[in-house]
Amino acid sequence: MSQPQLETSSSQTRKSFWDQLNDFFFAEETPYALALVRILFPLALLVGALPRWLHVRELYSLDGAPTPFWEGYGYQNLPIILSPSGAMAAYTLMICCLFTMSLGWKTRFSTIVVLILYPYFGLTDYLSTLTKYTVVATHVLLLLSMSGCGRVWSIDAWLAGDSQPQKASAWPRRLMQILIAVVYLGAAVTKLRMPEYLSGDLMRFWMLTNTNFANPLGEWFSTNQVLIVAMCYITLLWEIVFPFVCWRGLPRTVALSMGVFFHILTFFMLGLLVFPLVYLAVYCAFLTEEEAGWLGGKLRSWGEKVSNLVPAHSPQESVFGRFNLGLFAGVLTVVTLVAVTAEAQLDVYGERRAEGRHVLTPISPEREAELFSGDLRIRPIDKVFAFDTGTTMLGGQLANSRTEFRRGETLVAQCMLTPPHEDIWLEIDLHNPDNLQIDRFAIIAPREEVRVYATFPLREFLEPGQYAVVLKLQGREVTRRHVELLP
């Protein structure tokens, strides 16, 4: 038994670079992995696409406010924005094809339709549809449209009635893997170009941003600076090494597991929704034939329970098989017509209401004064993003936020300023329980500095009690933190 293995092993080592490259891209395999991508990926896109279905007129049609991305590149007034009915028909067609693509019904046609319409709608609405996951999706759709992803676990395969699953070349799956790796590399380049990233500040601000979906875990973690910095370094390192280790063995398992964990965390920490779903679906491209086959086998057992409900005919001879193309075209046509008719009845802008069109009402003088006051002086307290006390610094950050100290320890006070800020004269004082200043630290915080630290040795002669660390900007007290000096 062992001899053939040895022969195989030695023959592999003799393979030239071109042979290995040939095996890498052109190995014939049952496309289970891409079939999983084909099933899950459109469902992930639907999470973002379905809510926009109700807003097609406003987002994408001539009767709304489309915001074409191409205008920013000088292509003004391209006549490719559709009428409300046309936009609704195209969008509905795209939604239907996302479903049929997932089912594997006329897979290649469905994928090509989505490949055309998905980026089109993204480019038509730069403000609220186009994102980088639109771009990733376009790449994936392009590769799926050229793959054999519909040859297994699809209606097409069921209708073909092949006893053995068909095989296909591995190159679309390989390019998909390379795409994922390159995107990570690009993301790492972005981070390397921004020095604030490694200080954790950018991540912290993102965790506190409310322009994505709710992310309560991120808001809670945003005050843990050391953890954020550690996560930033780990993420950067992982993104850089991913393209080199994601191919085989234990490093592959670690890199992919971290990837899954990372994308799930982006939902809880950053409030991203569709992006992680898209990525988790595309990650199936990394599954080997055996792994994907095993995973798909679980799905198939569930599918067989469904297929048992259908009378056992030869698929080609069933009504569905004989009128497959007509049914497909019929379903798409009927759904599209119903959607266009329903949307026309919706009266999105309320122009056919019994009480007439909406009437704009003037805002109050108080609100007007508030909006146009022109007073843009930043309050001193808003120039301070955070002010904390502790004892240990790690990686330029206060590692432990504490309010209780013992004599002999060194109190570290850290002030994080809100960027961008002007050059600021900043003072941090230590006050005793009688509110008398007993120690002082003062410095100019130049505009490029975000953090300022002051250290106060808590000497043995200090009496236990409640002390205060006082922060002053431009000579005036802005805030203070009370700390307890224990005996």
Binding site: R52, G64, A65, T67, W70, E71, G72, Y73, L127, S128, T129, K132, V182, L185, G186, V189, T190, K191, E196, L202, M203, F205, W206, L208, T209, N210, T211, N212, F213, A214, E219, W220, S222, T223, V348, Y349, G350, E351, G356, R357, H358, L360, T361, I363, E368, E370, L371, F372, G374, L376, D382, A386, T418, P420, H421, E422, D423, R447, R480, R481
Partner: protein, 217 residues
């Protein structure tokens, strides 16, 4: 033949991906053409310390003002709570959003529309419990209202100021008598097209309109 076509496609695709990374790394034509958006992976930019919400305000002939966000029929919030106008970071498209609302509502003749950015430090986005653990002062969220742009009723840009972050950078840099003098002397008679508002890294003070419209509508 098919095999050759596939080989050409693979080589072309890999070259395109490699060029995207190279372009992003070196800044070589990274944003020159629309196609580059599909090759340059520059996500995760635009993290600021300030949260922003954008308001579209129409000014009528009578001097009365009308808030166009949210629209009377409701605004679409694509990714959470913020409406569409908030994602107009460059201020180029909000005029079109305003024009759409004006087209579908009854109102007096409109003179112009203003885009007002409402900004506040993101520390005020912390939940109450977390705030109480880290801050002794009371949480009183401010709102800084900054006039970002003005449009005519058809949505065409009349005036476009730099964004809030660049405005603050400008103010901090302008707070220097020597630089103010040099800036005044070196101010070109006509702004050049190259000084675009689109670059996050461009010194905001180079933009002639930066902050110039802040005290009046």
């Amino acid at each position: 033949m098919k095999r050759t076509a596939v080989c050409v496609f693979i080589a072309g695709y890999l070259c395109a991906l490699a060029f995207g990374v190279f372009s992003h790394l070196t800044g070589f034509h990274s944003h020159d053409r629309l196609e580059m958006y599909f090759l340059v992976w520059d996500m995760y930019c635009g993290w600021d310390a300030y949260e922003t919400r954008r308001h579209l305000i129409a000014e009528g002939e009578s001097g009365a003002c009308y808030e166009l966000t949210p629209a009377p029929w409701g605004d679409y919030a694509p990714y959470g709570s913020a409406d569409r106008a908030t994602y107009d970071y460059l201020g180029n498209h909000s005029g079109r959003l305003a024009s759409n609302v004006l087209r579908h509502t009854e109102h007096e003749p409109i003179v112009c529309v203003h885009l007002v950015d409402e900004c506040w430090p993101k520390k005020y986005n912390l939940p109450e419990t977390v705030w109480n653990q880290h801050y002794e002062e009371e949480r009183q969220r401010p709102s800084y209202y900054y006039l970002r742009a003005s449009y005519d009723p058809d949505g065409q840009v009349i005036n476009l100021n730099t964004d809030w972050k660049n405005y603050l950078i400008t103010e901090s840099i302008k707070d220097n008598p020597r630089l103010r003098t040099e800036y005044a002397v070196g101010q070109p008679f006509m702004p050049s097209v190259g000084q675009s508002q689109n670059s996050d890294n461009s010194p905001a003070f180079l933009q002639p309109s930066a902050g110039s419209e802040m005290t009046s509508r």
